[in-house]
Symmetry: C3
Subunit: 203 residues, 3 copies
Amino acid sequence: MASLLLVLDLAGMLVFAISGALLAVRRRLDIVGLLALAALTALGGGWIRDVLIGATPPAALADWRYLLVPVVATLATFWFHPAVARRERTVDVLDAFGLGLFCVAGALKALEYGLGPLPAIALGIVTAVGGGVLRDVVALRVPTVFGPGELYAIPAAAGATLAVIGHQLPLPSPAVATVGAAVAITWRLLAIARGWHAPVPSS
Amino acid sequence: MASLLLVLDLAGMLVFAISGALLAVRRRLDIVGLLALAALTALGGGWIRDVLIGATPPAALADWRYLLVPVVATLATFWFHPAVARRERTVDVLDAFGLGLFCVAGALKALEYGLGPLPAIALGIVTAVGGGVLRDVVALRVPTVFGPGELYAIPAAAGATLAVIGHQLPLPSPAVATVGAAVAITWRLLAIARGWHAPVPSS
Amino acid sequence: MASLLLVLDLAGMLVFAISGALLAVRRRLDIVGLLALAALTALGGGWIRDVLIGATPPAALADWRYLLVPVVATLATFWFHPAVARRERTVDVLDAFGLGLFCVAGALKALEYGLGPLPAIALGIVTAVGGGVLRDVVALRVPTVFGPGELYAIPAAAGATLAVIGHQLPLPSPAVATVGAAVAITWRLLAIARGWHAPVPSS
């Protein structure tokens, strides 16, 4: 079970890392830029969460296996970026799995460190979307998660909320995590398929 | 007294949060973007300070009352943004009170955590202006506090300096805080009224 | 020896701070913007490293001597920026010394805080280039270190790697630090002189 989770975690990070490296290619950055954007996207959300809750050094920095993920994504994107870019919709679909895993894992880790339900939900969202925000800010793009594309943060908020509610009831952690992640992933995939957006203020 | 301070603190944050949500409206972001910019602006300065001094998790993350502030600002701005935008000068005036409170509170908290006078002044300024800097960077605007608009960081520096000097003398904390905040607020309001600017290098 | 290191450290920071203040002049910011960009560039890399490894408050915040560096750089750049800008190539050369010192110092500090070799190398690079990344992001410039200019992060990676290998062998720390820094500085200076670049993905 633990090794299944590690594999899922690394797979989610890999997809995040590829989205960072792809943006770097489009910005005509060099291999250093690819690696930096890959690392920020894949690991940045977890770093922000861990720094805020005082869990330093972050697991995704102290464990060399996590550090290899952006290296792999960088090399793959460097050599095969035209093929990867043509499959961007596939990247979006895989990215939904990273989103679902990270919102739940982030919320549960915050609870473990003693934070209350509302802060834990907030940190679940930060874990899931924080890396993408860092990626976009560094590449001078208004973070896509802030609108007006398809729903992204709201499914993550739902997943984190379910995980926190389940944990408080209390229900067994693996069941809670699975349901929360499944809801976030499904909602995000439906949003992509149907073109669902979050409300925008009238202008 | 403690509840008066809490109310002032929340009121200062609310004005900061509104300025973040308004910028999100202008950037045509969705409700997620409004909430994110509101939260970064209101809470970001305190987060940076608390992370730097090791006071984690930050109060403005662990306490759910602070987390509600950006939610309120987001809903109000989402529905009433034309009215809010017309009162932007009023927002600027109210913002001066947030500036004055936060520069003093930030400096005193840094002293409490054992930092010396100069670092405490620096952290007071960071607390007061850090949220606005995060707001602007995420929305791809060079931070307004860095120029060339009306004086903003310098009144905050004055407030923080007075608070630190008073604390070292030592004078009673509430008096010190009041004087420091009053000077910062007054100076900032005069700068708005008279159009005072910080010096810009000759070009 | 300790005071020699302190002087080198402060000198490296001063050059970094000047590069931040110069960018602020070009962005037509006021003296607050000069000071902010100078401080972020000079101290930001160390702050990120220290926050990530839990070494809070960061030395470069708690020690007032470090805080004076951006003040000096700001005043010098404010008054003499045309002369400084004309010597930008000199600034680049001096900057190489800051790069070499910081990648080694950052990696050794990470080891000291118990991180493994690969994370320590990553933090050495972050220490050396993090301030410049913050400077560029705040001034709305895609970080120059991410390409496609002359090699910058790769010499820093080499210096950090040598320092970590030498420390693990173990060799005496001063020798390791000197060799690592010398390699990073030399490689960076050669890259400037010869126009060496990192690989860019084919388009």
